[in-house]
């Protein structure tokens, strides 16, 4: 199990929730992804500062009947797959929230 894994949505994407699903398009290569209901919950909670384990415990296991260790393993597989496509960022340290670096730029 990976401890303290932080996940954040890439800024190089376009995304839209459609019902229980979420569509995500990579802005760099136009690849389209459809996230199912559970993946959408994780995607929505991927703020870069909440550990994945906490997201799974608070957002997934409270809503779905699934063992925490199984849910976390599935979540890790999911986020690693999305990270390979560049639409999610992974780190062992908290990540800046999407858009924060832009806000810090001098005006």
């Amino acid at each position: 199990m990976k401890n303290n894994l932080y996940v954040a949505r890439s800024t190089a994407i376009a995304a839209r929730a459609l019902g229980d699903e979420t569509m995500v398009m990579s802005a760099s290569n136009s690849t389209l992804f459809t996230l199912n209901e559970v993946a959408s919950v994780i995607w929505e909670a991927a703020d870069g500062v909440t550990p994945l384990e906490q997201i799974v415990a608070n957002k997934v296991c409270t809503q779905y009947d699934i063992a925490p260790e199984v849910a976390l393993k599935n979540a890790e597989t999911l986020v690693e797959g999305l990270a390979e496509h560049g639409i999610l960022l992974l780190s062992n340290e908290p990540l800046a929230q999407p858009g924060s670096s832009r806000e810090e730029m001098p005006r």
Binding site: A14, A27, T34
Partner: protein, 271 residues
């Protein structure tokens, strides 16, 4: 000779698609006549134009076989390139230049790209789809090559006005989407009628043993739409605009799967 400047005589023609007049200038009057014939129904005589393009004709045989279109944004200009043309367009000066051989389909491609880029900023797009107006409402029939776009167009009844059998022009007007006729044709080999109407339904085409219509919703609808939107530029901002437009369109316009037998009975369902 000092003090003497050679001035090339340029002919020009204004091609207006989707309400956007573009003046095309070329020093070869024969090519300008070719453009006038090719875009008949979409040529106007207005001197009030949105953009100017200067066309330089290259000698035949100078094109390469590269069929991939490259579109990029560089130093305030859009650069467009394929084996048979090179073009640049500066939106801020409203001017552009096209280098191509005398093949009118090269110009066709440049115009498609330019309209794609312009439409994206306004929430519209070009779609691989045939389209027709019936009873004041536009119906779009979308699919990849071989899906039946031209077949549906050929089967259209006399009371239907054909907008295109290949590339549909979709604009957004407030909260509505409107289909506009285009001169971009496919196997049918003739330009569409220069008309427009609110879009009633977008059909995703499939051929099958019987005619039937099924709803397509949510992510499936957006995916089906995005698969058929003309998408040239890989610029991230452009990608986001097109994605948002597709999501908005799918939220406002019914998208359905039309499975059809290729005979005129399919049009009994299109009312």
């Amino acid at each position: 000779m000092p003090g003497v400047t050679a001035v090339k005589q340029c002919s020009n023609v204004v091609v207006e698609i989707g309400g956007l007049p573009i003046r095309l200038q070329c020093d070869d009057p024969a090519f300008v006549r070719l453009i006038e014939e090719r875009y008949a129904g979409f040529v106007n005589s207005s001197s009030n134009v949105a953009f100017d393009f200067e066309i330089e004709l290259a000698p035949p045989g100078t094109e390469s076989g590269d069929e991939d279109v490259q579109v990029s944004w560089e130093s305030g200009r859009w650069l467009m390139e394929r084996g048979d043309f090179r073009a640049e367009w500066n939106p801020s000066t409203a001017r552009g230049r096209i280098q191509q051989t005398i093949n009118p389909y090269s110009l066709d491609s440049v115009l498609r790209i330019v309209h794609t880029l312009l439409l994206a900023r306004e929430g519209g797009f070009l779609l691989h789809a045939s389209s027709a107006i019936r009873n004041g409402r536009a119906f779009l029939f979308s699919g990849v090559s071989g899906a039946g776009k031209t077949t549906i167009a050929r089967l259209a009844p006399p009371d239907a006005s054909l907008l295109t059998d290949e590339i549909s022009y979709v604009t957004r007007l407030d909260s509505r989407y409107v289909a506009v006729g285009t001169p971009f044709f496919g196997e049918l080999g003739r330009v569409g009628e220069n008309l427009k109407a609110p879009i009633e339904v977008l059909y995703l085409l499939a051929k099958g043993p019987e005619n039937k219509i099924e709803p397509v919703e949510g992510a499936d609808a957006v995916r089906g739409l995005l698969e058929n939107i003309l998408f040239f530029a890989r610029d991230p901002e452009f990608v986001r605009m097109v994605f948002d437009s597709a999501c908005d369109f799918a939220a406002r316009v019914p998208i359905r799967r039309l499975t059809f037998v290729p005979d005129s009975s399919v049009w009994e369902l299109i009312v």
